[in-house]
Symmetry: D3
Subunit: 243 residues, 6 copies
């Protein structure tokens, strides 16, 4: 099985970390390829960055047209709906993956993400997916995305402190880490706090393996129908849906 | 007052129709400029097209940096959140505008849109905005967007028939037209069916005038904070947020 | 355009303040007439007062039968549904107006109102309108309505302190002032706290202008159908719906 | 125990029917007094009539200041919140009573009411009470309230036909009759359709008996706090809350 | 009238206390029989205990096949749905009884229960019943169930302290005691805190009396249809539904 | 990896079918053992049967104390919460598994189950899990559970007809089969209707594999804490939680 993991930002060190987390989670027969677009923002922190990361995400999916499944490796599930229209293969976002998995091991979970500006987008996704009632609170640790790439930063400690607050104040029974760049922290934080600490990258890889094994593909009868043939102009002409 | 109305698709005949509807709704002192990107899809029918229309939308907003307010003239409110991050001025989507206005004149409204594939995205927006409970049903007339630009098409009759079903089967008290390209049909359909029939383009222009008059701008303290300075690569480099 | 702004309580100093706020918000061609009933309670603080303010509100609307639109200037939207049945012209409550406008400029807003006893009624309205999910919290400043009419009171400071709590504790991105008597405070409080602070009186006037410009009237096909002809006895006989 | 049942409209034949239904439901030691205001509308069909029935309702409650509990005998629960502020004794609306009782004997119930114009108000109450999820549908039989007072009308048959539709189309497991004037039909319709058919008048009487027996009174710490002392002007001066 | 009150755990001292509370609430003509199974757990603290208490609960209901109504006297409403299938007579759970009654006397209530592990189950019930929006918070006092049976324990004080927090922090207007074993504390705690403090045992008895008086039985047309005849094996063979 | 699949009813032919479906879905290294209790009901059709199937389910889990994960193979997720308290290993219900998987491949899904009496229980689960908004409708095919074991029955055709209605009337984009006994029909029905048709048994096995691979166990900090030590009497004494 071949799963393409797309980090929709352009920071290749983060792509490597995500790839490693994905490979660590993958089954023996699963080949993971982790890529990022060569155009777009270096990190995704809010809706503006999202807007400019989605075309690159789709470009990567189109390039790798033969993957068995795709992971969108940004916790906001940036471009997930568009990606589902772009391919017949299953596509899983790391945010939704973490929410669904957390719902299987805990009555209520909390999300610990990066910056306050991302909280609303995550809340909106929870509402759309129907899982808002399962989430006690979305919390910001105020750690910027790229600080997670900096050795010797205090990022990990601030995230751990926020987890502590979620457990005490929100009665959360599990923690979802709200950024792909936190993928390498899950195991140690789980041990430290003695509750499930869930990383979306690993979850998304496993859910892709599930869907492929089950022979399930994205339904093409409604929201994710293939794009209708039409003119695409200018820099996006190469992305025009075929007739 | 200067309002920039951005049709996020590249079909200039539709932009002209939208511009005319916007001007017809505008107050005496309001200058309407209607534009569309020169790159992107010719129509927006589903999530894939959306992904490739948002950068062009943002580009138009950036070019016209001195407008007092902005209208996103696609009923899916494509790129609305990103647009709100891109400017301090108010930004209103024609979908949300129509939903809020309909809520002021009817207990429950129905939406009559183009294709079935757009229903779910509209439902998702209603859920996110909190107004799902006010909408009796989102209905597809199965009229493709660009057929609305074709003289002598039967589009208007099919839309009218769908309105009829919404009034009889859903007990809708008002109708929201679910596509910018239907802006010119609202008045006649309202007269024909004797209920409010609401066009989002006109509503969005009026709500922009409201917000500007009230001196209200998009809050910058949370979801719509300005983008943080960072590297943008490749074709999107020109859109990098300033330091 | 002629907009009748009805303060449903009988305190004329408050009516004058509301009228001034309404006129400050109105467009050049809009004539504002601000009135209050000559019978009923001096302020509206809870459901009991509401019950005795609605007939006076309707009486004022009936007297001014030729207005283009009506504003119900009590933050509880007291009698709004009844008022919509009483006229074909649009009617907008200042509570709903503020909620809809706040939804256009912020991901989540908080309400700062007068007394704790009014919190539940405002929460109920938010639930009914569908906008509860957009409101982080309804907060009481424990400032009674008529204290807002007293020079040298500390009311403003207590409201400002409550706004501060809403921003810090609720992550509110905008503030809605929950009483018509706070209309004159919005601008200064917005500047002080650097977030949108929204007054419902101004919002309702602008939304009335919107609806009138758009040619939209309250739907008469359901909840707001005109009253059926019937006998009204005693002191309310003059209000009997015509055959 | 003394329960005052207030029919908020002025039609005394309907008050007599309601009184008989209440007495039939009451326990041996319960004295039922059924009254109606001498001012206000002859029937309550929509929000306009409601506005003019609430002061009369409160007047009746104030007159009978020594009752142990009060029933608001209009299915819209007209003035229920105001009534709760007007007395320390429990107050129960026949709409809410029927909804709560139906929730104890059925997974989902349907409401069969009079006119379409009343549907939205009932839906709003269900949302406010939190019981909307328990109601499969609110249905209008298009029988006007006062036709229920007319011998030889076909009202009963049309109500029965609507019950039939609710059972077949909505999978309702119980039926709530949505008008005080239908109180005398419940038993026969239940037998005819072999499901619980629930009349709110009887339910409200029994719930009042419950609350009185349990020594429970309306909480005065929030929404139902007693009205604050203030000036009431004109025809409502006699209703001013005492200092 | 004969009401069987089943304490689904096997602790007979608790059954006696529940029986006393039930008798204190019952009307003159109501005979209360309080029983508990002779097999199962000594207390019900979480889902595991629930699983082993339901068959005993059903056994008691089957033994007493001639009661007019049944009370399930565990605050989690353990086995309530199954009990409703097992008999034609009404069945009321003490949790739901307390929630419905609290909704009649307060805008919002809080629940004060025993252990944190029970919070989620109570929240789930509130969601299922539709009354989650009426509950400000479910709070754990961390008093184990059987400590309520211990003379000289500090249980009462810890419960009172938790009530205090609910009133101050959650703006609760009434308190629901979240354990059958707290039935004897309601009156004194209500007096101490000057708000309604509601015990589910008494509420359930009164609601049973209501339903029986009204001639209402559980609907057999859907969720609570009688069990279909089928083979039951092993220790449960005696419980097989009859052909 | 060792997964124990428990069919909570006692029909061994159904257990064999479930076991085959589970093995067909399992990865190469996964050992599936499918069991059923030797006491309890022969099929689970409603809440009464559920009550008597949970102890047997727990007994099977306790017996197989060394499994890496457990599947509850009844679509009502009978006893799932209790099972999660009984073991540290992950436990997945086939109902929840199907709902979560369907949410990854479709905007909205419909459920096609056996009898009308099961509809409400499934709706309740959807509400509790938070996924009700993702389900267009729960539909009954009126095929009893054990008819699925009968060769030459018309069960498959009636299920297919109900799927057809779900696609046409509910705009469902995927179908969830609402009974473990339908596990063998999914593939052919998916091909016939050209949408994803999802069997919960296969989904649950794959999700168990996910959770085990990810090293995730049920959180023990809240709803699923291990049972507290206490006396269990009579036939359930062997199930008493250890001190």
């Amino acid at each position: 099985m071949h799963i393409l993991v797309v980090n929709p930002n352009t920071t290749s060190s983060m792509t490597r970390k995500i790839g490693a987390a994905a490979r660590a989670a993958a089954a023996a027969g699963t080949e993971i390829v982790a890529v990022n677009p060569d155009f777009g923002p270096a990190s995704i922190e809010g809706h503006y960055d999202e807007a400019f990361s989605v075309p690159g995400l789709i470009a990567e999916i189109k390039k790798a047209g033969d993957a068995d499944a795709y992971v969108v490796a940004c916790f906001d599930d940036t471009g997930l709906d568009a990606a589902r229209c772009a391919t017949e293969a299953p596509v899983v976002g790391i945010g939704e993956a973490a929410f669904h998995v957390a719902s299987l091991v805990a009555g209520k979970f909390a999300v610990v993400t990066t910056l306050a500006r991302s909280v609303r987008a995550i809340e909106h996704n929870l509402v759309r997916y129907g899982l808002a009632g399962r989430c006690a609170k979305v919390r910001a640790s105020e750690v910027p995305v790229l600080e997670l790439e900096v050795p010797d930063s205090t990022a990990r400690d601030r995230i751990s402190a926020e987890i502590d607050r979620a457990l005490r104040e929100d009665a959360a029974e599990a923690i979802v880490l709200g950024c792909a760049g936190m993928a390498d922290l899950a195991a140690a934080l789980s041990q430290e706090h003695d509750v499930p600490v869930i990383d979306g990258v690993a979850c998304a890889v496993k859910l892709c393996e599930c869907l492929v094994s089950l022979g399930l593909k994205t339904s093409k009868s409604g929201a994710y129908a293939p794009p209708r043939a039409k003119l695409y102009s200018g820099m996006f002409a190469p992305f025009a849906p075929p007739c």
